[in-house]
Structures are given as C-alpha cells and as structure tokens.
Amino acid sequence: MSESIKSLAALKRHIAALDRTPAPTVGCARLATGHAGLDAALDGGLLRGRVHELFGAAEEEGAAAGLALILARLAADDAPLLWLRTTASAKVGGSPYGPGLAALGLDPARLLIGLMADDAMLLRAAVEGLRCPALGALLIELRGRAPLLDLTASRRLALAAEQSGVTAFLLRVGGDPVPSAAETRWQVAAAPSDPLPGNAPGHSAFALSLLRRRAGPDGLAWRLIWDGEKGAFGDGRHECHEHGQDGQQDGAPLSGALVSLPADRSAADRAA
C-alpha cells in the first residue's frame, strides 16, 4: 500500500515536472484596449501571447467578428493579421469587405485571409500560424459547435501562442462554451448605438461581458463604442452629447428621415 502511495507521489512529481510552469502573468505584456473600465478590470488589458475566446450568437456574427477584428488589430500593431475561417462560414456569414474594414480603421492591406476547407484544416493552420512570431495576431473563426476544438486542441493553440507571443482570438459564432485553455472568455453582442442626428445609426457599439477569466473576477459587463477614426474604444455617452451640440439641433431632420423623392419626378413633370 505504502509503495503504491510512494509511486503515486512519484508520478505526481513527474507530472508536475512535465507540466510547464505557468508563465508569469505579472511581467507579461498587456494589450490595453483603451476603455478605462475594461482595462481596470483586466489589470491593464488583455494578455498578449494568449488565446482569448469570444462567443457570439449566430445572429450577432457581425458584432462578434467586428469586435474580434478590432481587438486583433490592436494586438497586432502594424504587423500583418491573419483571419482564418472556413469556406462554409464565408458562405453563411459573407466575405470580409475591404471598404468596410477600412471604415472601421482596420487597414485591409495588412489583413491576410485564410479560407480553409474544414475545421480540422483550420485548426492545423492556426497552430502553424501561432508558431510564426512575425504574425501580429491571429483570428480563428469557428462556426457552430466545432467538436474538433476540444481541450487538447485549445491547449495546443495556447502553448503555441505562449511560445511565439502571438495573440490569438478565437471567434466562436453560434457555439456554446466548453472547457478550454483560453485565458479569457467573452460574450459579444451588438448594442444599440448612440444615434447620430436624424436617428441614423452611429458608431459601432458592442455589449461585452466577461464570462470567465483565468486569474481574476468575471461576470462583468461593458458597453463599448469603437471610433475607427481615433482607433480607440469609448463609453460613448459624453461623445454623444458633444455630437448633439455640434452646431446642429438634436434630432434635426436629415434627408434620411424624409420620404425620398420619386426617382423619375413624373409628378413634378405633370405639375409643370
């Protein structure tokens, strides 16, 4: 009996020696999002060289992909960003649109898009990408349940990210959270924007909640507004006020609120 306890202890020691000591999180580079509340809750920002999971419902794919891209762009600085997705997601969710990326302040020239045949190929390519330190950030888009992304697969991604220092964002559209080796886990949804005068949709707004975090409290929620021009997140509230006093009266009707004129102007012709 005692022998078996001894061997058990030896095994445990062996496993402890095999398992890498967790990389120190204190001295690690953090990626400041620019949103004061978010950065404070995260002790300065998201950790670089880790995997961050973003979950979004299937109907929220625009917002989820948008926020994931923005975060990936922030993490990548000026280095190229690789967005891996499957041809099936491109069919359902549409393809990335350069002018729209540019409008969000994300330079399409520094974006590489990898369209993989299936999830297995995508995960292989993701590990390959994470091993390349020259890459700024990696965005991995998986749709649905993605059974191939189990604990082993996500651990493999996390190890590769730790070694190379490339930050990975795992975008899960329409998936349910399963155990994973990710550093943080977020739920993303679109939030009503601060309207421009004329009740036009304003800057991209996101409702972000922290589902899980390795070291620290979770369950917090924020509303983020992304200003592509400044390249920073904000709360949006005061900006909205500034906009209101921008020389124009609040709610002043713009052309958008009006019924558009008949295109052929036949009524005007007849009246004349």
């Binding site: 625009g62 190229p80 898009i113 924007s193 949709p201 707004a205 996101f206």
Partner: protein, 526 residues
C-alpha cells in the same frame, strides 16, 4: 552521323503513336479494355452525325476495316467488334504525360500533330552514345510501358514527322529517304495529293525536281512551304511544351532509387546547388519544380511557389516537404526513380540582405511571407488571400480577393464617407445579396421592419437612401444573379431594436424601373 556535324545542325526525333487511343485504354483503363473480350477493337467518334471509326487496332486493320468507315459498315463486316468512344481530351492528357516523361532525353520536347511527339535532340545524342541509341532507348522505354511507337530522326521537324509516319524504301542517307517519301507526306489536302499523283509526281523527290513557281501556281504557296520544310530548307523552331528554365539541376542514377525519403535527400542537395547558382546571378526563385522520373516512364512533378524570392536550401526543402505531405497519394517510387530534376522556372532579382545591421525588420516581414507560402502550399494557393481595391462603385466589385502568394500588400484603401462618420460600408458583404421581406410605409420609403433568416427585425434607426446606380455603359453590372439588366439600388444603413446593424437595399426604383422592388440584405456592420 559524325560529331562535328551534330554540333552545328539541328536534329529532331519524331515519335509517333499510331494506336494511341487504343494503347491508352489498354494501359490506363484495363477494366474497360478487358470487359469486352478480345475481338478487334475500334475507337469511334461522331463525325457529322454518323459514328465513324477513328482509330483501329492491328486486328481490325487486318480484318479490312479502315479509318473513316461508319460503325454500321464496320459491324456488317466484322460483327464481333469492341467499340470504344473516342476521348480526345484523355488522349491529349496522356500525350502530354508522355511528353513530360520524354523530358529526360532533351529539355526541348514538344507535342506534334496527330498523336506524336517531337524532341529536339541536337547535342543530346552523346549522352546515350549516339542518337540512334537515344531513339532506341526512348522507344524501348515506351514499348515496355505498352505504347506502340514508331520513330524517325531527321534534320527538320517536318522531315522527322513524315519519316515516322510514311513507310519509305530503304535509302542510303537521310536526304534520299526524304526524297523517296510519297507525296502524301506533304499533308496537303486529299485532292491535291490525288492531283499530284495523276500528274505522275509520286514522291517528294519528283516534286523537288520541278520548279517551285509552277507548283505554287497549281497547288498554292503552302505546297511549296511544306516541300521546303520537308527538305529542311527553312528552319522552324519547336515550341517546347515547357519553356526552358533558367536553372536546372539533374541527377541520374545508374540504379533506380527505391526509397522516396532518399530521393528527397538528393533533392535537398540539388536545392543547395540551385541556391548557389541563384546566388551567383543575384536572384531568388519564386517557383521551384522537382520532377521525380520513375524507371517505368512516369514522372511526378512537384511544384512549389513562394511569395518572396528565396534561395535558401532548407527553406526550399520545407516547402517541398509541405507539398509532399499534402499529396493525396504519396510519392510512389514503384520500381525506383532513375532520375531527379530540380528546375527554377521563375526567378526574381534578390539582393543580399544584411539582417543584423538593419534591425531585423526585414526578417520580421519575411517570416509572415514564409507562413503564407507554407499555408498556401498546404491548403492550396487560392485559399490564402489578400484583399485588393478595385475602382468601382458597385459594392461587390470594389474589391478582389487574390492569392496572397503572388500579390504584395496593396495600398490605397480610401474609406467611404466623411471623417468622423460611423462606417458607411459593412464589414461582411454577401455576394450575391440575400433576398429579404421588407415592410415599408410607402413603396419608395425607408424600411420599417424586415425578415431575414426567419427572424423579424424591427428597424429603430436608419440612414439612407444612398443611391447606387448601375453602370449604364455596362448594363449587366449591378444585376442580381438571374436578372438581365442592372437596376438602381437604394441602400439603407439600418439598426434593429437589439442594436444589430445591417446594410440593405431596395432593388429598382419604384414606378420607373419596377412595380415591385425587391429588397436584399447586402452586408453586416460591426
């Protein structure tokens, strides 16, 4: 043929496969071939509404059938016939494979008309102890493979072509052999050949003795051209199937090499050699091709492509290894590889870099290029893409997704709209746009609510319309799939009650272009 002559004059080897479609069926499709017993075999094709014999095997020829006969006539004469449909594309592919296999004799191998190959063997004969031995080696190899082949060597491609196809009486030398060829060897129209025979001109030699002007007057310039080409008076170079690459490294083995792992090691040596040659020229390769020649005549080409010029042997080998690992059927040595060849079909200038002094910045971007190369090779070159702007106001035509391996990062993305505005263009674009059901207060008014993917969205905020007209000079542009002409689109940026932002448009101006304008969703905003 003495050596000094062979150095100055061109020499051509013509290979002709008289039974190519039948041999191909026998070798490549033994299942089809054996299914119908062993009666005389014919390949038929549809000519002007009738099934006619295209190629016949020796048995069928012996039975008195001739090419061009209708299938019904042939069956009347020979009820037991094996009939196969002609497959010109399959034959062409097969011929191209044979041509690639013949690249072991000369770099300058081309397809020849009428199921033949033409090899420019000038200066290649000494590697095989003479050109006759070379031709013998080539025909032996093809015959071992099961192809029936006839060959001839001559000083011009046309003469070799004709000598391989037309039985000529033995002649003391090549020129006499050409002169003894029948007039059909000129491959003129059938009527011309008959007319020449009626005039008593039976051989090429008879024709050559006549003044060219009279021949041209009666049979046209092309008859004189054909005659001169046959006699080797005018030189027309071959258009090789593969252009000759700048850099080529080869290894021939006395004994076929049975292990592909070993063969890959040899390719690595060759890559180092090619890298040295590239460094001497100040170039780096953008494309590399390794060809594994098997002793039974098949050749496996493996090609890799890079987005930046490289000449570093380990880097080249990593790409080859990546490509070999992604092959659906592994590199099969069969009875062994007897020759390996590494070529660099495309090389670009590449200046030597000093990484240490330049702060390593160059190395950083090079790393991503290497990743792009590896992923492009593993997944397929079209799967790793970059977006490139296009000057068009039709939204789906404003960008192109191009393979990242061959296109450098483009510049010049100008955001649409004024600075400080929220995004005017969506992050995701649907191409084609997806139809939605929209409720609007008036037919040409803004949307009120819409249904997309079985979900009802209440529009709380919108901006629009932004009118995008089709390009009138190209009426088809801007048309939704399945419609003949483009219509004006009125785009709205809308936000639903839960904050989701969409880009939707009404297709067609109400009243002017259509009575029931359709609505489509074209994109998703972040």
């Amino acid at each position: 043929m003495d050596r000094t002559d062979s150095r100055t004059a061109r020499r051509y080897l013509a290979l002709w496969f008289p039974f190519l479609p039948i041999d191909r069926l026998r070798i490549a499709r033994p299942d089809l071939w054996a299914a119908q017993g062993d009666a005389p075999a014919v390949v038929v094709e549809n000519v002007r509404g009738a099934m006619r014999l295209a190629t016949l095997d020796a048995d069928a020829l012996a039975a008195g059938l001739t090419p061009g006969m209708t299938l019904a006539d042939a069956r009347a004469r020979e009820p037991e016939l094996r009939v196969f449909e002609a497959d010109p594309h399959g034959d062409q592919d097969w011929l191209e494979r044979l041509c690639d296999g013949c690249a072991r004799y000369t770099p300058n191998a081309a397809l020849d008309s009428g199921h033949g190959l033409m090899l420019d063997i000038s200066g290649c004969g000494h590697l095989w102890d003479g050109e006759a031995e070379l031709a013998q080696a080539a025909t032996d190899r093809l015959e071992r493979h099961g192809m029936r082949v006839r060959h001839a060597i001559a000083a011009s491609p046309e003469a070799a072509h004709a000598l391989a196809r037309f039985p000529a009486a033995p002649a003391p030398d090549e020129d006499a052999a050409v002169r003894r060829l029948p007039v059909e060897a000129l491959e003129l129209e059938a009527e011309s050949a008959v007319a020449l025979r009626r005039a008593g001109l039976r051989t090429v030699g008879d024709l050559a003795a006549r003044p060219a002007a009279a021949l041209a007057a009666r049979f046209g310039e092309e008859a004189v051209d054909a005659l001169h080409a046959l006699l080797g008076l005018g030189h027309r170079p071959l258009a090789p199937r593969r252009p000759r690459p700048a850099i080529r490294v080869e290894r021939r083995f006395a004994e076929p090499m049975g292990s592909s792992a070993h063969a890959i090691k040899v390719v690595a040596e060759m890559a180092a050699e090619a890298g040295e040659q590239l460094a001497e020229r100040g170039q780096g390769g953008r494309r590399f091709e390794a060809v594994f020649f098997r002793s039974d005549g098949l050749a496996f080409p493996i090609r890799v492509e890079t987005s930046l010029p490289i000449r570093d042997a380990p880097a080249i080998m990593r790409l080859f290894q990546e490509r070999i690992d992604s092959l659906s059927d592994p590199l099969d040595p069969g009875f062994g590889f007897d020759m390996l060849r590494l070529t660099v079909p495309r090389a670009d200038p590449m200046a030597p870099t000093q990484l240490a002094l330049e702060g390593g910045e160059a190395r950083k971007s090079e790393g991503v290029e290497a990743l792009v190369d590896r992923l492009s090779i593993r997944a397929g070159r079209a799967r790793i893409q970059r977006l490139e702007p296009r000057d068009s106001h039709i939204p789906e035509q404003a960008q192109l997704a191009l393979p990242a391996v061959e296109h450098r990062a483009p510049e010049g993305w100008a955001p649409v709209g004024e600075p400080g505005d929220p995004p005017m263009r969506p992050l995701h674009l649907f191409d084609p746009p997806q139809p939605i059901d929209v409720v609007a207060e008036v037919p040409d008014g803004p949307p009120h609510r819409f249904r997309w993917r079985r979900t009802l969205h209440e529009v709380t905020r919108f901006e629009g319309p932004e009118r995008i007209a089709p390009q009138w000079w190209q009426a088809r542009d801007g048309a939704i799939e399945g419609e003949s002409t483009g219509r004006t689109r009125d785009y709205y940026r809308v936000e639903d009650a839960r904050g989701r932002r969409y880009w939707i448009f009404r297709h067609g101006l109400y009243g002017a272009e259509t009575v029931h304008p359709g609505w489509y969703i074209h994109g998703l905003f972040a």
